[in-house]
């Protein structure tokens, strides 16, 4: 089987990003990594590869800077990488259209994505991609089980009310949630091997009907500051405050 995993380059998970003058982001000292939810998607793909054999291809839409993250992804085990060479100004639907073109060329059985990119927090692209392909989807997976013939996936999804199980017949798209697995660290040989794995670049102008950019961030701002909290001497003081506020 063939699995395509979408990955995005995002700021390291615990970075504190500030707003610079003019409502732009101060990104000078920020380090990047693979979006944590995409790391789970990569891990899941490699586990499927290990348990039943699969070709795993990672794909990103972005500039030359994303090479590093594609290498780190491949160091975990995937076979090759594809980068759609696009500037940063694309919107979710355009990125989904780029990924859809890659999916059409590669014809995978399964696309695995993260459920959310931790920078823009859109949680849009995977569902858009599934729609563009006309495929079924399963969102926020905490468990994926393939049927013995590899044609059907039973997916347990984390939903507001608890857990929901759905069945998708492949080809299908599944997004990873935090409890899907525990991503491995790349080994040193893995890192060395990654450097020799193929990395294809698809020029943006090969994407048919990528459409106009219709969604963009026009400015960032910090959250309104919060007054410093009060340190309490003991439980008595807490009880006093709670009753003052009529909370008890």
């Amino acid at each position: 089987m063939k699995i395509l995993v979408t990955v995005k380059r995002t700021p390291q998970r615990d970075s504190r990003i500030n707003v610079a003058s003019g409502g732009t982001l101060a990104m000078e000292s920020i380090e990047f990594e693979i979006n944590p939810f995409d790391e789970l998607a990569v891990e899941e793909a490699i586990r499927l590869k290990e348990s039943r054999g699969a070709e795993v291809v990672v794909v990103t839409v972005g500039g030359e800077v994303c090479r590093r993250q594609l290498l780190s992804a491949m160091a975990m085990g995937p076979d090759r990488a594809i980068r759609v060479d696009a500037g940063e100004a694309l919107d979710s639907l355009q990125i989904a259209k780029c990924l859809a073109e890659v999916a059409r060329r590669e014809a995978p059985d399964l696309v695995l994505s993260g459920k959310l990119a931790i920078d823009d927090e859109g949680a849009q692209i995977p569902a858009m991609l599934a729609a563009l392909l006309g495929w079924p989807q399963a969102n926020q997976a905490s468990k994926i089980e393939l049927s013995p013939d590899g044609k059907v996936a039973e997916v347990v999804c984390e939903v507001d009310a608890g857990l929901e199980t759905v069945e998708v017949t492949l080809p299908a798209l599944v997004t990873a949630d935090l409890r899907l697995n525990e991503p491995r660290y790349a080994s040193l040989p893995g890192i060395m091997k990654a450097k020799k794995k193929p990395m294809e670049v698809i020029p943006f102008d090969e994407i048919p009907d990528s459409g106009a950019t219709r969604s963009a961030v026009i400015g960032y701002r910090a959250l309104p500051p919060k007054p410093p909290g009060r340190s309490l001497g003991g439980v008595d003081e807490l009880v006093e405050i709670l009753s003052e506020k009529k909370l008890i």
Binding site: E121, Q140, S215
Partner: protein, 327 residues
């Protein structure tokens, strides 16, 4: 073409404040565009819900029942919205940000080929062909103004940031819509849903939330204390990822970037460190109280009141003090 649609459903449980926030979001959009607001309920609902939703002052309440909408699937719900808007024109189609809307709204946006904004905090402006929404980014640490261009757009809203509309005496007409084509996807099947039964209030609806972190040590150590405290307050219980990952509480209790977003009157954070991913889901709470034995814990940066204490001393003391005050 300046009308607004709020999409809801499936709606078998009673209409919640979150559902009503979606109508409030629609109302604020319609007020800006000068158009009318309609509600579309997808799938089955109850007569009680119908009765509640006709008193919100909207132009029409549409009900779309269909065999493929009886149990929720993103594919069928997205196709239903697409089928409905073939005969109706809206400038913005909105819904409350929920696990289902997060899945079927972007699917709908791609099918309609229109832009979308996620988890909107506020409407900055709405003009023909252009909408600007506020949306939190970078794990809730910054706000972004997102501009959507075009005659139609989709948006989900953050429930805690919008108010339910006022109840009005006037009754909105209920219109039943039929769609003859199949809506489901032949390769998708709903299998089962499981939810934990609890007598406590719903996490996202509760006035008071008591949340537990890894500091509670385990299901037999600190958890009973936290639950007891929650029961005295009539509160919902919440948890950090660490607690859910350890299997001490089910996944639907997780608060944060990957869990629920809550904004109660009082949030009691017990034995949790206050990682940004957790804070992102509770930062808008009216009053935040933190109990943690580490004075350096980041939760104290967002807490209105901080108590540096061992929870195994503080919580029993608190239970005793307010247990007496309450009963």
């Amino acid at each position: 073409m300046s009308d607004v649609l709020t999409v809801m459903g499936p709606l078998l449980r009673p209409v919640s404040n979150s559902d009503l926030a979606a109508v409030g979001f629609g109302e604020s959009l319609a007020a800006r565009s000068g158009g009318a607001l309609d509600i579309l309920i997808l799938g089955p609902t109850t007569e009680d819900n119908e009765r509640a939703l006709v008193h919100l002052g909207v132009r029409n309440v549409y009900l779309l029942r269909h065999a493929d909408l009886e149990s929720y699937t993103a594919e069928a719900y997205a196709s239903a919205v697409v089928a409905f808007v073939k005969d109706h024109r809206y400038q913005v189609i909105g819904a409350v940000s929920s696990s289902s809307a997060r899945e079927f709204f972007p699917r709908t946006a791609a099918m309609l080929d229109v832009p979308m904004a996620s988890d909107v905090f506020a409407v900055e402006s709405l003009e023909p062909e252009r909408a600007v929404f506020t949306h939190a980014v970078f794990v809730g640490n910054l706000l972004a103004a997102v501009e959507l261009r075009g005659p139609m757009s989709l948006a989900t809203c953050r429930a805690s940031e919008f108010q339910a509309p006022k109840r009005v005496e006037q009754v909105s007409p209920v219109r039943r819509v039929t769609v003859s084509e199949a809506l489901g996807h032949e390769r998708k099947r709903f299998v089962a849903a499981s939810r934990t039964q609890s007598a406590r209030p719903e996490l996202t609806e509760a006035e008071i939330v008591v949340s537990a972190g890894r500091g509670i040590k385990g299901p037999d150590e600190g958890l009973p204390l936290v639950e007891k405290l929650a029961d005295i307050f009539g509160a919902a219980v919440g948890a950090t990822r660490a607690v859910v990952d350890a299997g001490w509480m089910p996944n639907e209790y997780q608060v944060g970037q990957t869990g629920k977003v809550v904004a109660p009157q009082l949030y009691l954070a017990i034995g949790l460190s206050g990682a940004i991913q957790h804070v992102s889901g509770m930062r808008s709470s009216r009053t935040i109280v933190a109990i943690n034995k580490d004075p350096e814990a980041p939760i104290f940066d967002v807490a209105d009141y901080g108590l540096v204490m061992d929870l195994f001393e503080a919580v029993p003391e608190l239970i005793q003090a307010i247990g007496g005050a309450r009963h």
